[in-house]
Assembly symmetry: C2
């Protein structure tokens, strides 16, 4: 029998195999699609591609709900074809970003834990098609996901129709590493019974009403790899400051050398900061995060991380080759969960995570902008940073103190867009140092942020701003008419630095 067909173990489904183009033809104008995929891993690929192809000659629009960012150029192709109506909860494609900022695509920036609640309650409307990448469909009708869990299970449960993309290029060793759990309806649910990073509470696949599977498509396109920029001097210094802070927590008795389950946001800086742990004294670490990047496997190889839970695995080409080529050695050390569980406030608070996320900018009181350049143009989205920052035991934000060769200070008088308020930001770290804001009033925070975290070339002008603000008084002193003057100066002169 065809090697591919063996992946469809529920034999009655084998007659539903269709070409990607046919599956794409079922989708019509105004439909809402729920796509698998999280941090460009495990995304449905060939049906979206066929749909984008249709978009070149047909006029229609669809809304796309995903786990997080999609790979395989899906967002780019949809943006270029002009077929995207609404997009949520996260994206990271430059072309799509342009269309969003031009107001041509509605983008709804949501906490990654939240989308499942909104699908469940019907706020986002019925999902017409869930399109889910899989390794296989089991005899008893479960969809085995690939390299991410994302929102796939909730999409399948609430979609009118399901299209399964069986991807022969994904590592078959992933079968068994997923833990699919449905939190249930609000007001009728019980506690989520997960008490540690490695616990199993669900099934290894997504239960599905077989009647809903409208078609099955085969694919052999690998995940889009991530680009990992190696650590540089600045990120190494940031890692050093972070380790210094963690050591002080151990000395004070608030943490042990195995710290707390670690969450680390996607991105070069977070990745580089974790690299710093490889040669540290910290050990027996656990990871409870939304995505496993290269560094998590480096930490496993170094014997530092004993278990990692996330919603996706997203690797560089080299790391993909290494990890997938010898997956058996990692198999018992990791688990992929739906993003509602990886990012659930209940679990994050219970486990008491050590949470590290990247800030785009922050202000002298610790309000963080994670998303918008100069308050208006969005980059990617808030992702899970809010889920974690609000509920973690330690909520840490990292950023370089400047950008664009020093022309932008990442620390500003007033954050031009606020994703995380002063209430949710505990530690801020730059290559200059760190500021521990816990238990501090706003006026206590300012000198720490200026002197520990700002680049020296900007400190003087911030001290002047704050001195002027202090004359006006208040719990949170500001000179409102100058609050965004650094941003407007950049727009006018190309630099935030005063002449």
């Amino acid at each position: 029998m065809d090697n591919k067909l063996q992946r469809i173990r529920a034999e009655e489904l084998r007659e539903r195999v269709v070409a990607a183009e046919e599956a794409a033809s079922w989708i019509s104008d105004g439909m809402k699609l729920g796509l698998s995929g999280f941090t460009h891993s495990g995304d449905a690929k060939v049906v979206p591609h066929a749909l984008a192809e249709r978009g070149k000659s047909e006029r229609f629009k669809v809304s796309v709900y995903s786990g997080a960012s999609l790979g395989a150029d899906i967002d780019r192709l949809f943006a270029e074809a002009g077929i995207m109506e609404k997009r949520l909860p996260y994206q990271s494609d430059p072309v799509m970003r342009g269309k969003i900022n031009d107001g041509e695509v509605w983008y709804v920036d949501e906490h990654l834990s939240q989308t499942a609640e909104w699908v469940r309650s019907g706020v986002l409307g019925p999902i017409d098609f869930a399109i889910i990448e899989a390794l296989a469909i089991t005899e008893d009708g479960m969809i085995i996901p690939t390299t991410s869990a994302g929102n796939s299970a909730i999409f399948v449960k609430h979609a009118e129709n399901v299209i399964v993309e069986i991807n022969m290029a994904q590592p078959t060793g992933f079968e068994g590493i997923h833990d699919i759990y449905d939190a249930g309806v609000q007001g009728k649910r019980g506690p989520i019974p997960l008490e540690n990073a490695h616990g199993r509470i669900g099934t290894i696949g997504i239960p599905v009403d077989l009647e809903k599977i409208r078609g099955i498509v085969f694919s052999d396109r690998p995940d889009s790899p991530s680009e990992i920029v190696p650590p540089d001097e600045e990120t190494e210094r940031m890692a050093g400051h972070l380790l210094e802070f963690l050591r002080s927590e151990v000395w004070s008795g608030r943490l042990t050398n195995s710290l707390a389950p670690i969450q680390s946001g996607i991105g070069t800086v977070s990745n580089a900061v974790l690299e710093g742990m490889i040669d540290s004294e910290f050990e027996n670490l656990e990871v409870y995060s939304e995505v496993m990047q290269d560094v998590i496997f480096d930490l496993m190889d170094a014997g530092k991380v004993k278990f990692a839970s996330a919603s996706a695995i997203t690797l560089s080409p080299e790391k993909m080759k290494q990890v997938y080529g010898d997956f058996e050695q990692y198999r018992d050390k990791l688990m992929l969960r739906p993003q509602e569980i990886s990012n659930h406030p209940e679990i994050i608070r219970r486990l008491g995570l050590l949470s590290i996320n990247t800030a785009l900018e922050f202000d002298i009181y610790g309000n963080v902008n994670s998303t918008h350049v100069r308050g208006t143009k969005i980059m990617n989205g808030i992702g899970g940073s809010g889920d974690f920052a609000r509920n973690a035991r330690l909520s840490i934000f990292v950023t370089r103190s400047t950008a664009k060769d020093g022309k932008i200070s990442s620390i500003v008088p007033f954050a031009s867009h606020i994703d995380h308020t002063e209430h949710d930001v505990q530690i801020v770290v730059t290559e200059q140092g760190y500021a521990d804001l816990r238990g501090l009033a706003p006026r206590e925070r300012v000198p720490l942020i200026i002197e520990n975290c700002m680049h020296p070339m900007y400190r003087g002008q911030m001290r002047a701003y704050y001195a002027e603000a202090l004359k006006r008084g208040g719990q949170t002193p500001h000179v409102l008419e100058q609050a965004f003057s650094w941003h407007t100066r950049f727009l006018e002169t190309g630099s935030m630095l005063e002449e």
Copy 2:
């Protein structure tokens, strides 16, 4: 035997009775105090008063951690005596507010669910004295709280010393209505086993190591009553809009006529809005909130509310007389919980609350300022609004569209302080109407907010601002140099309205 001494059922403690002045004399400069009290109910009164009295002739400072706002003029007396170093997590006294805004008192504005975690982990330093108002101390050594639960249990557990104030003026019928539960240490705790508003998971009193009880003081000072301003035409219209929205949720099948457990922030507007439910079709309601105000008992009397859970009961003088005078009829219909439980993200999300809080101002994208007048001077604090708004099934904010006879628009281009981001604000209601922001991109939100919620006299000038912002583009269009122009215009001309 003395009637008072019978309240100390653990007989070995009876010899620890002292005068308030003596207990206050144990407190010295630099100490951290954990005081019972939430929304000026159940606060320790006579020892703090004696301490403030000492402050008139002695130089020392203490930090005061409480449940929420304190009554009995404690914050005022401490502020006037100049003995307050740091205050958290919430206060509402005008004199204290003045000292905070003058920078003379450090005020740390925290989510009300968060303080317990910080006490437990030691971030806030050791608590030297917990001073807790009680009805009694049981034979087996439990402190029976009075009209609030607040942070009392966590303070008692982590304090070096405990002073108990037995208040003979508090209603003895309250014994048995508390449900004291300790969530436990992060990373080692299990799920909180509460699955509905009326469940009991803990004990009726606060367990205490009797060795730590340094002294017991008697008091007979009643709680400070709340001032309830009756509904007016505007609040009645707001209630009408809110009911209209709730009806639309019932029609869409997302709610039933018993809605979802209701949380309502403290304050006249929230109170008035709930008044509107008395003559509505909604029934068999449950309340899961942080404070029960008059209206909850009105709703019980009207047969609308069948059970209410909160962390405190705060009533007007008339209502206090009625409710406490006939408490037996309410006894089985209510429960008081530690604020960590009443405000816990885990429980709020699980129960799927219907959450109604008051905004000070919000902007055209739905970012809410709950705390700071013109971005600088704080009013009271964020309280529990963030705990609820982030995790509720429905996160609703209410405010009048204008303040100061129309000279201030509560809807502004850019909120001058952001406590709740666009990600956490679902429905905004003013006397003009409501805007349902769920699932909407920022640019979709703007016309709804302007046309449905703003006062007509400000709509034109906001349309002009937004038109200018749109020319600049972006996911969240703004004219940064004019973002706070409404606030600065008010400071210059006394009105936000353009000439």
